[in-house]
């Protein structure tokens, strides 16, 4: 079974981030493989271990996104594809989905795994677009995935609990971060990753023509910030007393 996992390099969620003067997220420092994607890779590896096959990582990003792919390869994925291009900056969700679809389609995977959403954007729009462009059904918000007899079954997390959703393969599945604890790369895995293939494509290689972006940024302004209030150091009593005073003022106790 061939499984494609989409991956993205994002600013490290555990480091404080700044904005560049042009209001794009400063990405030069402290970038990591998206933690949500690590869970997707782990899921892909578990399915491969159970059913055989191959796990291919596909990413769109600058050259250094190769590091994110390399990390996934050291976890055990088989090879990678990186689409990098001078026109990448500011690619919107639809262009991203078109680029990923063009790279994934020739692979004819039985399963495409995406994180439900990226850590930096958190809007989750690429996966349904990608499913549409690849002509695949989408099984989303999966907190559990099973494959048997050419069918994929997921537990789709909902506000009330979960749904059991089924489809025939090929399918696209989005997984939540809770689905599987990502494994650490072993030293052997890290060594092996060095010789694994990472193919580079440009937009032109994939026949992508960049049209007008579907949306244009008109302005970015500071949001109305909440004023910071009082900060007290708790000494074992004052914290509770201060909070009680706030609750009383708000008339909730």
């Amino acid at each position: 079974m061939k499984i494609v996992v989409t991956v993205k390099q994002v600013p490290d969620p555990n480091s404080s981030q700044g904005l560049d003067p042009d209001n794009t997220v400063a990405r030069d420092r402290e970038v990591v493989l998206d933690p949500g994607d690590e869970c997707g890779i782990e899921m892909g590896l578990q399915l491969k271990e159970a059913h055989g096959g191959e796990v291919v990582l596909v990413s769109m990003g600058p050259e250094r996104a190769r590091d994110a792919i390399r990390k996934g390869l050291s976890m055990g994925a088989d090879r990678g594809i990186l689409i990098t291009d001078d026109h990448l900056a500011g690619a919107d969700a639809l262009l991203t989905a078109r680029v990923l679809a063009a790279a994934i389609e020739p692979e004819s995977p039985e399963l495409v795994i995406c994180a439900t959403e990226s850590y930096d954007g958190s809007t989750g729009m690429v996966p349904p677009m990608l499913a549409e462009l690849l002509g695949l059904p989408q099984l989303t918000f999966a907190k559990h995935v099973e494959i048997a007899d050419g069918r994929v079954t997921v537990h789709r997390q909902t506000e009330e609990g979960y749904q059991v959703v089924e489809a025939a393969t090929p399918s696209l599945v989005t997984v939540t971060a809770g689905i599987a604890e990502p494994r650490y790369a072993s030293l052997k895995g890290i060594m092996a990753a060095r010789s694994k293939e990472v193919k580079l494509f440009t937009f032109t290689d994939l026949g992508i023509e960049q049209g007008e972006p579907s949306e244009t940024v008109e302005s970015i302004i500071d949001a109305e910030a909440r004023k910071s209030g009082e900060v007290v150091e708790d000494d074992g009593a004052i914290g509770v007393a201060k909070i009680m005073a706030v609750l009383q003022a708000a008339k909730v106790v």
């Binding site: 549409e132 949306e215 949001a223 909070i243």
Partner: protein, 320 residues
């Protein structure tokens, strides 16, 4: 007048609250139609009319509720080709975003998601989107037609316009191959007595609580206050508590009278879902935690020590 559509999401036959919120803005932008698909659509038409839909396009085919996203995408794409709306508004909910994503890819229009407002500007539409975790607001102009905008829950107050809609039955237009991802079962997990998004008081816990075995402190305080318990994405991802409790960009948006954040650092992911709260109290060991900078009261201390004492104090005050 621009032609504005609102996608009226039905969840097991019931119209979602977020769908109704959208009409408050939609009717200021032009003539509003609602599209309601699946069992319960005809029933929903009355409420949709009362909130400002002039026409409600309905189809009750069970496939809309049974299969993920594709049937609704087919129907909307067919309707868009016939009717040519200028703007389609969706709620930024898990179900709506899947339909909107497929539709935007099929129409080749793209979309603007996670918006908190949309305005008509110079004959087009500009959406306001929280950026960099809500510290900034970006204005995006939609270049394609129809513009597709997904709006965050609780962006507008629901308001009744007292109108009545014309109900128009439309063809389902579901493609041959679109009955694929099928919902075969729905299971409910135990929910809190007070609904998180409606609660007047929310107590949320994060990683600072140390482990799932300590989360009962959050529930106990929430119960004593008659409120609901919430959580940060970090602890939901770690499996401490169910997703239904997640507050933030991907979880629920809450605007309670009082929000108490215990052991939550205040990542952008989280704050965008709670910064509309009237009063924010934060408890955190780390003096530099961003949450302390936005709280009305920040307590630098150990939530594990403070929460039980606070619960006792609340109970004593309430005479419980």
């Amino acid at each position: 007048m621009p032609k504005i559509w609102v996608y009226a999401e039905l969840n097991q036959g019931r119209l979602t609250t977020t769908s109704l919120e959208l009409f408050t803005r939609a009717r200021e932008l032009g003539n509003v139609d609602a599209v309601a698909l699946g069992p319960g659509a005809v029933n929903a038409a009355e409420a949709l009319g009362r909130h400002g839909a002039r026409r409600v396009l309905v189809n009750e085919d069970a496939a809309f509720a049974e299969y993920v996203a594709e049937p609704a995408t087919d129907c909307l794409a067919a309707l868009v080709a016939q009717e040519r709306p200028d703007l389609i508004m969706f709620g930024f909910s898990p179900d709506s975003r899947e339909v909107a994503g497929r539709l935007a890819a099929r129409l080749g229009t793209g979309l603007i998601s996670n918006a908190m407002d949309v305005e008509a500007v110079n004959g087009g539409f500009v959406a306001k989107v929280p950026y960099f975790g809500g510290a900034k607001v970006a204005s995006y102009r939609a270049n394609a037609s129809p513009a597709i905008v997904l709006i965050r829950p609780k962006s507008f107050e629901i308001s009744d316009s007292g109108d009545q809609a014309e109900v128009i039955a439309v063809s389902a237009s579901i493609g041959e191959g679109s009955r694929r991802a099928r919902i075969v079962d729905r299971l409910e997990e135990a929910a809190d007595k007070v609904k998180l998004e409606d609660a007047r008081i929310v107590v949320s816990g994060g990683r600072g609580l140390g482990g799932p075995e300590n989360f009962h402190f959050v529930h106990e305080l929430a119960d004593a206050l008659g409120g609901a318990a919430g959580a940060s994405r970090a602890v939901v991802d770690a499996g401490w508590v169910p997703y239904a409790m997640q507050v933030g960009q991907t979880g629920k948006t809450v605007r309670p009278g009082v929000y108490i954040a215990a052991g939550i650092s205040g990542a952008m992911q989280h704050t965008v879902g709670m910064k509309g709260s009237k009063v924010i109290v934060a408890i955190n060991k780390d003096r530099d935690a961003p949450i302390l900078k936005m709280a009305d009261l920040g307590v630098v201390g150990d939530a594990l020590k403070i929460l039980p004492k606070l619960t006792e104090a609340v109970k004593a005050r309430k005479g419980q």
